[in-house]
Symmetry: C2
Subunit: 512 residues, 2 copies
């Protein structure tokens, strides 16, 4: 026990990854299950993360010309039915409103009353209802492009749920746009995928692979679905965002037509794209360690926590005053700073609490620091080095720095942490990524708890994909854009399963 490093999270990642995830969510006080089946409660620390993501994304949507609007929660059942593939995709798991009143029954218990003429579906996504509105708003080519985004809750009746990753109700944004030409619509699809990839990598610090979904994995009703795929620390893939080219499918079912420059009526070309509270799951599973959450400075609700250390009331007064003074100076740089001056709690307990919550930097101020005019600056993480001990790593996290220097260096430190988090995730991904050419190697790679991203040649059918899924629990995460494939794996080859010729490799992995 003496040599074994104690961790704040039990079990550790190595011991039980799925349970570790639940415990990180709990230890960081991000969310919890609710009494309503499949629905979660997002607690203040988790919601603050979502607000910060919203702020970043919303700014980028507006910078690319989109405007927010709000559409009804309910969709008439007949609307869903209009697009054949779409209803196929969503009818199996939706909340259906059939009544608009509750009445006391004979035993005094409430029963549904006031049956609706037409049932309403709680939106699983809003293509159909937004299409109906676009049909009214679009008359001529001058009304195009129409670039709309909605922040909303949606419901998909999931049987097996997991906090943030898969819940019956979740929060998201859904972009919906209409264009005069296919080329413009496809350009929009790419533009918004690039926005998502930018946020994933440069804000969340999660490296992603970009590509197209296979036919079987496409959004129900889409012509093309593009996606970004991140790798979690257990080597599994997580789809983090999708951007769809809908062709004229929804335009035809909702009758969204415009008069083109030649005076002819045409159907618009539509897109839709979305990310959800699932991103918080990606953030947790990519960065957190056995002491809890690790947050990138660009999303952290609190950037710096300052803990005064004292034994006597006189020391308490001096160190707390200094903590407040340092906090003010850091706030002046734009950081959110918390002085943890709670009484009756040991400094160590405070350290662990803020570590569990992922705050990027902690500053400890004791009487000796005051005398020396220095601050003890502790970063939440460093990039792990092979073979170093827990103690060596701890030492690298902690620095005693002259006060003025520590404060002046804060923007640089935050910048380093932001970049290191991405780099650390890249290293982790690198270690679990392999170019594979034989089924034997493939099987060995995914055996047991192993696995990761496998770059393989593929020319199989939809049925062949099912075969792979059954044998290895893997799926084609995407048909990647060419520059996403590791250089050593570019070019044509032969399908790993069928031996047929393949133009380029695909990304295969187990997935959430």
């Amino acid at each position: 026990m003496a040599k074994q490093a104690q961790t704040a999270i039990t079990p550790t990642r190595a011991e039980d990854y799925p349970e570790w995830y639940q415990q990180v969510v709990r230890a960081a006080d991000l969310a919890e299950v609710s009494p309503v089946r499949g629905c979660m409660v997002i607690k203040p620390w988790g919601y603050a993360l979502w607000e910060n993501m919203q702020r970043v994304l919303d700014g980028m949507f507006k910078a690319t010309g989109h405007r927010n609007a709000y559409f009804p929660l309910f969709i008439p059942m007949s609307f869903l039915q209009k697009e054949a593939e779409h209803v196929e995709g969503f009818a199996k798991e939706c909340a259906v409103v059939t009544h608009h009143r509750l009445e006391a029954g004979p035993d005094g218990q409430l029963v549904p009353a006031g049956e609706l003429e037409e049932p309403l579906v709680v939106r699983p996504t809003s293509e159909t209802i937004i299409g109906a509105m676009f049909a009214k708003w679009v008359q001529s080519y001058r009304d195009l492009p129409l670039l709309i985004n909605q922040w909303a809750n949606v419901v998909r009746w999931e049987l097996r749920t997991r906090l943030f990753l898969r819940t019956a109700e979740f929060l998201w944004q859904e972009g919906h746009t209409a264009h005069a030409t296919e080329a413009e619509a496809r350009e929009e699809v790419s533009r918004m995928l690039a926005v998502y990839a930018d946020v994933a990598e440069n804000v969340m610090g999660v490296p992603v692979v970009r590509g197209h979904k296979t036919e079987g994995e496409r959004f129900a009703g889409a012509v093309d679905t593009q996606c970004i795929e991140g790798m979690m620390q257990d080597g599994k893939a997580l789809q983090m965002g999708t951007s769809h080219y809908l062709g004229q499918n929804f335009a035809k079912s909702a009758d969204v037509k415009f008069l083109n420059k030649d005076g002819q009526l045409e159907y618009v070309h539509a897109t839709s794209w979305g990310v959800s509270t699932r991103l918080i799951g990606a953030l947790i599973m990519t960065h957190s360690d056995d002491n809890g959450l690790i947050l990138p400075p660009k999303l952290a609700p609190i950037h710096v926590v300052i803990v005064p250390i004292y034994k006597t009331p006189e020391e308490q007064e001096r160190t707390t005053a200094e903590a407040r003074a340092v906090a003010e100076e850091l706030r002046g740089q734009g950081w959110t700073v918390k002085v943890d001056d709670r009484e009756g709690l040991q400094p160590g307990a405070k350290y662990y609490e803020w570590e569990r919550k992922g705050v990027p930097v902690r500053i400890e101020i004791g009487p000796r620091d005051l005398e020396k005019g220095s601050l003890c600056v502790v970063r939440r993480f460093v990039i792990e080095q092979d073979g170093e001990t827990e103690q060596e790593q701890r030492k690298r996290k902690k620095q005693f720095i002259a006060r003025a220097e520590a404060i002046a260096g804060m923007p640089g430190l935050m910048d380093t942490l932001q970049k290191d988090l991405l780099e650390r995730a890249r290293i982790m991904r690198e270690k679990k990524t392999k170019i594979i050419d034989t089924l034997e190697d493939f099987e060995a790679f995914f055996k047991g708890e192993g696995g990761g991203f496998a770059w393989v040649h593929w020319a199989g059918t939809h049925e062949d994909e099912d075969t792979m899924a059954k044998r290895f629990e893997t799926s084609i995460r995407c048909l990647p854009f060419e520059d996403q494939i590791p250089e050593a794996g570019r070019g044509p080859g032969t399908c790993i399963l069928t031996g047929k010729p393949s133009a380029q490799r695909v990304l295969m992995a187990k997935a959430y």
Copy 2:
């Protein structure tokens, strides 16, 4: 026709107030009805107003120590049943989810399938579900106060709906707090009502009367409901926000108990408070005129629109360049500025469009302004003066000002507009407010299209309130805080209906 001023909105306020309202909403492109009964679509200009209100309110909630969280959309039917008055208040108008799947029936049409064991209600408000979570989160007095806010959509199945004012689904915020003592909880109720009043008056420019609701008008399950009431231009009252002291009612039904400092278990004292997209209705009905919407600078999505005026391509180039230069300088002051350089549209058409949308300031730049080095600055409104002609008023709105002076004067002008809007609404309210002591005067005041705020003494029963409602269509808007009563009307008197003694006057009006 020559003498009659043309208005952008038909009918005018004087001709048909309710229809004028609908036409302002339409002309400003704020919202429209959706194909889903009772639900509206909030269009980008309307949603931008809501975003601006959210930003202001959210900042004030956080500054008063509240944190945002998110709770499930659905509430199990049994939860609603727990608090007797609450279910009474909300069971009559709620959307009930009974199934979680759609299947193709024998004729190929979809039918609901997968019946739920217990029906779910789409939240009409979240006291019950949040109470269930609070019961888990609160253990000891150290966990109190618990100060939570949620931004969400809610559904109340309204039969007669009107855009923003009353819709089946609406957007709102609901604050929910738990406290150790009644005194602290009541203090919170007052604090949040003060926040609402502050936003109404100093951000929206809508003067409000603050007070308590009568027993019959209280929130279902509350011990005390406080409210702010604004006056619309037709003299009717609009309830703009409410703040409730819930006592221990919900704590008892959800079992929210804490260990007090003496080690004894007690129920918490709870509050809840909310404002909704209804505020946009209040904004429209208080300020708009027969040319459309009028927006306070603190909420306007665009503060200044600049229209270049030209006849030749050379003039177009010069005036547009100047428009962009002026826009940049104003943006540097923090204003959102739109240069309307659309081709193929006359300046007049642009003026009307931005007037209809309520943009506070328009700047016109023509070749002669360039020569003179001046700008034509047109404010969206002035406080009307008795007896002035339409032309005189127009002249007061429009000023030719030296370029540098106009730009340097923009913060002052915006400040003036913000204050004038509140002042203008105060003047309007003053004109339609009366201290009334007899039923005859009361009847005369509310006859026909007249009416407004009547300050009357009241000591009647709930049945007496119904009598007044039936005879005059009026209701007690609030039992005002004493300082809210006009000075001339303070002190005790006798009830206008029953002749019984009354300690102070109440506010009676017709209402939305």
